[in-house]
Symmetry: C2
Subunit: 438 residues, 2 copies
């Protein structure tokens, strides 16, 4: 059988990895797919660099639109990134009857609904395993491996940069800025690290997983996002003393009132497996009603781990090519006419526990004032640590863990606590999740 | 579209779980599969019990052979277990053009090659996600999620009973027999626990994963199997002191000389994520050349976790039903005419590290004798701990960790060490794996 012909758009880090892995493991992949899979044309703005990478193995062009129109191309891999050109290219490829593989989480989180609708119309597949958690086959696991389950929640460490920063802050007792600079030096963080450290990248990935888990359209604009830039090494240390580790988690959960969709620093019990995922690694914990908790761990980024996911999609498309389009695995796991309109819950309505750190003047009655305010807002206290004041200081740290409560109650209580004359400055509030038993 | 009709053979623990989950999550599953999936007939020797479970929702019969011939049945689920009737039923179902879902790891490890050949001949699918690691979608991940990779090795905790026993021995400092009795009381171990504690169940599952990872036929008869019955709480404690945890691991690895296929107690560095998988939970660590290490964790047994895998297979078959048989995911991940004849390596030729515990008479020159013998067999020492003799005793424990060496060298050295007059009794030998960096 004639090999599948693939057009590769963008041969940067992941594109180069894809090209190399596909060539290196050519025979292994063909033994699995039953058919050769060859990148026959590469489009990149930097033609000279691209040619140096691919040699004579593929044609190199600078016009990506020529590739998506090329009648000799069966599958287009989009690795250009961004929202504009990438979107036009994917839609054009679909219009020309090509299947598409993309790692573009930002594009899918924002425009996935439109792209998938167009793909259904044209009877082609759009595959995106590489968009979430790099080489971990989490899209496949959610979309095919756990189909028996009513998914209850997902909690994931899905941004390697911020997990690296938090690991280093904890292990070395260093402040955020120092570790961020180190991560930039090592190439783990971009020159402009906003997407990673502000949780936006994680929210893109979480949006995709949430849609697949619950059968809802992509709704990135409703995601709540809070980054790690304000975490202090003191908070990390206090959390450890209480038996918790702080991770930037993406959490999506089904509740009777709606679906939670939120990214923020989170205390997790240290004994949980996912609390021990360190450095740039990713892990996703999924709770299904039948299977219980399952966890998927691996490299969330990098040339070859991401290439692993891109190529798995190529093999999937090759294998599914002969099936009736209506019988293929649906883009968002659920049949498109079966998506639900369950609302995304506003963050104010989310129920969780909290770590609260307050700096107070060391005088009688302070604690009574604080605990009365919490009680007024129906917030009960699970644990409390009062630190000794340092020599010659009249201020002291109080750390409280609350039981589960509604975010708006916590915010209201915090506003009143911050107004107390005995409380100095702002209250630090970090959410806490037990993540069930597993 | 008319629902898929399923015949269920055997409604014990997993069969009951399958029936219940399929009914409870009916609408969720149909929203995913695009088609209803209904168990229309159940066969069980105990008709009264079966009828009590299914009520009016399905026909109940006592003749399983009638089900596999039933023209109204599209897919047969085999949950009877064992080698004889189960095999006849599966082959008969295939001959009647039914797709088959089974959780029968023992049958597949021994007769999978024959069953898959028959299924190919008849153009039907045989799915078996539930045969390995319960609800964890590890077959799917290996067979579809990691297709880009040359798999280097797999190491798995794939028997919950023995992992529970080892966890309890370590946490409570109890001997094997006490914990086994406890596990039997809790229903985690059978009255005859041989299959679990001798590593046979794990070897069945490892055989299946090895075939899928490396593209070789099932070769259960070549698997090396060693159980946990001889482990002492002292060994577990010494290992902890050296920074290791003892797990019953199934390991399969590609080497230039052949493929390793072995189940035995293994020291793993405590800091590895897989070393922290406790109780009845399962986890499989897979090393691919592109993706690096990925880990899959979850419940390896139980009614609903196993049902989760059985039903995922039903949905897969429903989704793949219209694809050309040659394009479907191959049973063993690789195309049947592309299986390799790479030999399974005899255990004697396997390279690994070792934990050696010796009881010696506390006299000069003992250590020199031992280290000379190890050096003679080109075995070098990585770490050594000599315990103080207990009050009034003249014997003392020496614990050695070796660097990587060939098993036959270790065995030859142990034979010579045991012959030394200064060494009392047998040398305890437990293999040790660093499991790479990840």
């Amino acid at each position: 059988m004639k090999p599948i012909h693939v057009g590769l758009l963008g041969i940067g880090t992941v594109g180069g990895g894809t090209f190399n892995v596909l060539r290196r493991n050519q025979s292994e992949i063909q033994r699995r797919a039953g058919r050769g899979i060859e990148i026959t044309v590469v489009a990149d703005r930097d033609v000279a660099k691209a040619r140096a990478l691919v040699g004579d193995a593929a044609k190199v062009v600078d016009d990506a639109f020529a590739v998506v129109r090329d009648p000799d191309v069966d599958i287009v891999i989009e690795l250009i990134g961004g929202y504009t050109v990438a979107k036009d290219l994917i839609l054009a490829a679909i219009d020309h009857g090509k299947h598409v593989v993309t790692a573009n989480k930002a594009l899918l989180a924002k425009h996935g609904n439109e792209i998938f609708a167009r793909a259904r119309e044209k009877g082609v597949m759009v595959a995106f395993e590489a968009a979430v958690a790099g080489g971990i086959p989490i899209i496949k696991s959610l979309r095919e491996g756990l189909t028996a389950n009513r998914i209850e929640w997902i909690a994931g460490i899905i941004n390697g940069t911020s997990n690296f920063i938090l690991s280093e802050m904890r292990e070395k007792g260093l402040p955020f800025e120092t570790v961020l600079a180190e991560a930039q030096r090592l190439g783990y963080a971009e020159a402009d690290p906003t997407f990673d450290i502000e949780g936006i990248d994680a929210a893109h990935k979480l949006t995709i997983m949430s849609a697949i888990a619950f059968g809802i359209p992509m709704q990135f604009e409703r995601a709540y996002t809070e980054g790690i830039a304000n975490l202090t090494k003191d908070d990390i240390r206090y959390a450890e003393q209480l038996g918790y580790r702080i991770k930037l988690l993406g959490i999506t959960r089904r509740t009777p009132a709606g679906i939670e969709l939120r990214v923020h620093p989170t205390l997790i019990p240290t004994k949980r497996l996912i609390a021990n995922v360190e450095g740039v690694m990713n892990a996703v914990l999924v709770k299904g009603d039948a299977v219980g908790a399952t966890l998927y761990y691996g490299a969330g980024a990098g040339a070859e781990p991401t290439a692993s996911a891109v190529i798995a999609d190529l093999v999937d498309i090759t294998r599914m090519a002969t099936s009736a389009p209506g019988n293929r695995v649906p883009h968002l796991a659920f049949q498109p006419d079966q998506l639900s309109d369950t609302p995304i819950l506003p963050m104010d309505e989310v129920e969780t526990s909290y770590y609260l750190r307050l700096r107070v003047y060391d005088r009688p009655g302070v604690l009574a004032d604080i605990t009365r305010i919490l009680a007024d807002h129906t917030i009960s206290i699970d644990a409390m640590v009062q630190k000794e004041p340092a020599e010659g200081e009249d201020q002291v740290d109080i750390v409280l863990l609350t039981h589960r409560t509604i975010e708006k109650h916590t915010n209201a209580a915090i506003a009143r606590i911050e107004a107390l004359p005995s409380v100095a400055g702002k209250v630090t509030r970090i959410r806490l999740e037990e993540l069930g038993r597993h």
